[in-house]
């Protein structure tokens, strides 16, 4: 009991510390309720907020539809079916994740804009002028939805795929013995059973969408997030910006709550783990499946990657620059460090929640996982406030006791960066791992506990092996996200410390796209290598454990 109390306390503490930046936001909302300055908000409500809400909602709906349809269908095809190229596709479909959304956005606007090659060629061929023909406007809400869907669907793909692979064959067979054909089995059993995974993946994609600034801004779509920045930068009202962020937070909490509630008490673990045999596709079915999987890969990755490659060729001298390799090292090191840290933390929290599902633990863990929906910059500011306050305290103490000024120990150091990544990306790994844990029957825990294993040993001996797909997925997701992370890095990093993302962004921000090519390409490459290595490692562990004959990628 004593141990449990202590553990509960540490869990809550971890969650609270992680949630500090969110608390700063909550504080500003509370101030608002307590009769703070509402003039900015009033003005915003009267002018732009309705549009922000409309755009944000449409964007979210669109992206949700996009990532679910692409992510789930590719996940199902690559797990349940066998067709030419399936092995390659099953890991290649991860790649769009490594592509920063704004790069994809640049690529497509560059190509499809009025002045771009596609439209110019059309005009040359047919002798059209401006206004003589209709062409979809790339920089628009639908453009943003498309690009974000293409870049973010791997979240859904990865997490859903992991569950599809773990789904028990008997459950699906029960469906078929009740008269369902494979397609109906997918719709009525596999899909609902994968619901936590689909929801998790979609939530992550939507949170990223909500937090996204670069893409929507580039596409001229005014969303809540662009509103937050406009309020801060334009009106110089940081407080007002935080209040808007608070409203965003409330909306996210509400959404998550509704989803949890609608799941009620259903569970998703299945008794037997016999993997289902795959369907061998042939003929036009195989071709259709191939096309369905190749399309998102081509548009989400290959085309933008080609664009990056061509830019990088223009700037090939950079590859010999040692400073450039320093950037690569910084980025990669940070990504690995942060991924490991965040995944460990997520395991600690997710696992605590599973074993001590008291209300307070559940609430605080859920709170800790909200950071992903808040724009990184807002998180960074909240964190900065917290860390500098701590720093000032430390300095004051140190001065009083030792007459020595140690300078800023926490803020403006790598510590601050890692902290920020933890706040922001905890949710990614937490949700991924939770989805995985949900698939493990509680009787597994019990069978191990009864054999004398302590909770942590159970984690190591039972859950980690069974969770390996989820843990690796979480590592990749967080790693790739950290590689791409920009706003928090910009604000919190130390002097003379740059990353690939910062470099790519600074170049792109100045509309110097070819210069943005090499760092962006490097990000993709650096993110890709672990993906491939991990999928190999996964292949091995998988084959011995579940005897799946086929190549199994990362998630499995």
């Amino acid at each position: 009991m004593g141990f449990n109390l202590w553990r509960q306390f540490t869990l809550v503490l971890t969650a609270v510390v992680i949630g500090v930046p969110l608390l700063v936001i909550c504080w500003s909302v509370l101030q608002l309720l307590g009769g703070g300055d509402t003039s900015t908000l009033t003005h915003l409500w009267a002018t732009v907020v309705p549009e922000y809400i409309r755009n944000s909602v449409l964007l979210l709906l669109g992206v949700a539809a996009g990532v679910i349809s692409i992510g789930v269908s590719t996940a199902w095809l690559t797990t349940a079916c066998r067709f030419p190229g399936q092995r390659f596709l099953s890991w290649a479909l991860l790649l769009p994740l490594a592509m920063p959304a704004y790069i994809t956005a640049y690529t497509y606007t560059g190509m499809l804009d009025f002045a771009g090659p596609v439209q110019s060629t059309l005009r040359d061929w047919f002798g059209w002028g401006y206004g003589d023909y209709w062409f979809p406007q790339v920089r628009s809400l639908s453009g943003a939805i498309l690009v974000l869907s293409l870049v973010l669907f791997p979240y859904v793909y990865l997490i859903t795929r992991a569950t599809f692979i773990q789904q028990s064959a008997t459950t699906l067979e029960a469906g078929r013995s009740l008269g369902l054909n494979p397609w109906q089995c997918f719709l009525r059993l596999a899909l609902p059973l994968a619901r936590p995974a689909i929801v998790t993946g979609t939530t992550l994609a939507l949170m990223e969408t909500l937090a996204d600034y670069g893409t929507v801004q580039y596409f001229g779509v005014t969303t809540f997030t662009t509103g937050i920045f406009r309020t801060w930068y334009g009106l110089g009202d940081l407080q007002g910006a935080l209040q808007l962020a608070g409203m965003l937070l409330v909306a996210v909490i509400l959404l998550i709550f509704i989803e949890r509630w609608s799941r009620s008490q259903a569970r998703y673990d299945q008794r037997s783990n016999r993997p289902a045999p795959p369907f061998q596709l042939t003929g036009w079915k195989a071709i259709a499946a191939s096309i369905a999987c190749w399309l998102p890969l081509v548009f989400g990755f290959l085309l933008p990657a080609l664009q990056l490659a061509s830019w990088s060729l223009e700037r090939r001298e950079v590859w010999a620059d040692s400073a450039f390799w320093q950037l690569t090292f910084n980025s990669f090191g940070l990504a690995v460090l942060a991924a490991v840290l965040v995944v460990i933390m997520a395991l600690w929290l997710a696992y605590g929640r599973r074993q001590l599902p008291t209300r307070i633990v559940r609430t605080s863990v859920a709170f800790a996982g909200l950071g992903y929906a808040i724009p990184g910059l807002v998180i960074a500011v909240g964190l900065m406030v917290f860390l500098t306050t701590l720093d000032h305290g430390i300095i004051a103490l140190s001065k009083a006791w030792f007459d020595y000024n140690p300078g800023l120990l926490l803020s403006g150091t790598l510590f601050a960066l890692l902290f920020a990544y933890s706040v922001r990306f905890l949710s990614v790994s937490l949700q991924t791992i939770n989805a995985g844990l949900g698939e493990i029957r509680p009787s597994m825990d019990e069978a191990a506990r009864i054999q004398g294993y302590s909770p942590l040993q159970v984690l190591r001996k039972i859950h980690l092996p069974l969770l390996r797909p989820s843990v690796l997925t979480a590592l990749i997701l967080v790693g790739v996200d950290v590689l791409k992370e920009l706003p928090a890095t910009l604000v919190l990093r130390p002097f003379d410390f740059n990353t690939l993302a910062v470099r790519a962004y600074e170049m792109a921000g100045d509309e110097r796209l070819p210069d943005a090519g090499p760092p962006a390409l490097m990000m993709v490459l650096v993110g890709l290598i672990p993906v491939i290595l991990l999928s190999r490692a996964m292949l091995k562990s998988q084959q011995s454990a579940l005897k799946e004959q086929e190549f199994v990628p990362v998630t499995a």
């Binding site: 141990f3 009787s443 019990e446 054999q451 004398g452």
Partner: protein
């Protein structure tokens, strides 16, 4: 000193009371057995003993240390308890050998290997070391689950229907082996089973649970021959309860005629009672005056089980060797041959329906026959 002691345990899930005031006790090395209808709370009780389920009221002690109380639950891994789960709960990522040796944490790898080999031999699956759980049949999985629980030689072993997926022959063999093994290694065990033969064969103590209450906790012999509750009488063996009145001469006026039994002497004359009639208490006798019509016949291997309706409408069960086939509808003579006569106060005779609330337990100890031999 008792190895396991349950003291007036109550367990609820929300508003539902699943276990109600159960007390029982097992001495070192004893094997206890829980019987009871599906959903009566047996698994829940075992889970509470293992430490997966917290108690609302009461306490559980192992070796005189309280491990569960209303506000205290010693974690499962600190109780030294082993368990065979009803759904096996094999680890899907480990092969058979690793599953079995999973709990032998301090053993050397030679020891492990030896124990795994020994157990696989005992459960009839030698050479299955490298199989994964999903490559086994249901019964094979169950046996692995059993071996896994036995491997670390726990001080107290909980077995939740450990033989339910096995064929009769293997089940019997294994029950004997497991009993031997438990006795040899001095393991105290609490077993849940639906097979009364098995319970009788294995258990030192047995009990019948009904809707969360433990109606009786006794030796198997007592449970069968001296049930202290009508529900126990009903549940154990195939019993029918009939009504009768004890007269002043100590005989029982019943639908089967006048019955004599030494135990009836202790009952006040004129008391209305119910009494238990088992198939083996009724013998077909062509000469008997007591006659009935065969309503149904069930083939049982050596015997046929006949349901016979007396002219009064009362239905009885009787066994007859299966080569003498009597047809449904035929007339048959019956003779009562009571070795034991189990008698209850009549006002509790109404057997509860399938889903009714648990009746309050009201045994009639004063009416219980003291001497059992006919």
């Amino acid at each position: 000193m008792s190895r396991l002691q349950l003291d007036k345990i109550h367990i609820s899930f929300g508003a539902a009371h699943i276990v109600n005031g159960v007390s029982l006790q097992l001495e070192q090395g004893e094997i206890g057995c829980l019987l009871g209808p599906s959903g009566c709370g047996k698994t829940t009780l075992l889970r509470a003993i293992a430490g997966f389920q917290s108690l609302q009221v009461g306490s559980i002690s192992i070796d005189n240390n309280t491990v569960s109380e209303s506000n205290k639950t010693v974690p499962p891994e600190q109780r030294g308890v082993g368990m065979v789960f009803q759904d096996f709960a094999l680890f899907p990522h480990l092969n058979v050998a690793d599953n079995i040796s999973f709990g032998m944490r301090k053993a050397s790898s030679t020891e492990r290997r030896k124990r795994v080999d020994e157990l696989l031999d005992r459960i009839g699956l030698p050479g299955y070391h490298k199989r994964f759980p999903h490559e086994l049949s249901g019964g094979q999985q169950q046996r692995i689950a059993l071996a896994r629980a036995l491997a670390p030689k726990p001080g107290l072993l909980l077995l939740d229907e450990p033989f339910s997926s096995l064929d009769a022959e293997l089940r019997e063999r294994l029950a004997v082996e497991v009993r031997e093994l438990l006795k040899n290694e001095g393991i105290t065990a609490l077993l849940v089973t639906h097979d009364q033969q098995e319970a009788f064969a294995m258990a030192d103590k047995a009990g019948v649970m009904y809707q969360g209450e433990l109606l009786q906790w006794d030796t198997p012999y007592q449970l069968y021959h001296q049930p202290r509750h009508q529900l126990v009488a009903d549940f154990i063996g195939h019993g029918v309860l009939l009504q009768g009145t004890v007269n002043t001469q100590g005989s029982l006026a019943s639908p089967l005629g006048m019955l004599e039994h030494p135990s009836l002497m202790q009952v006040a004359g004129g008391t209305p009672v119910s009494f238990l009639v088992r198939p083996d208490d009724i013998v077909p006798d062509p000469e008997s005056r007591l006659r009935g019509k065969i309503k149904a016949r069930g083939f049982r291997g050596a015997h046929n089980l006949y349901t016979v309706q007396l002219s009064s409408g009362i239905e009885l069960l009787t066994l007859s060797p299966s080569h003498e086939v009597l047809d449904v509808g035929a007339d048959i003579g019956l003779r009562a041959e009571f070795d034991h006569l189990v008698v209850f106060a009549a006002d509790h005779c109404e057997l509860p329906g399938f889903h009714e609330q648990a009746p309050t337990v009201q045994p009639l100890p004063s009416v219980l026959p003291k001497s059992q031999s006919a």
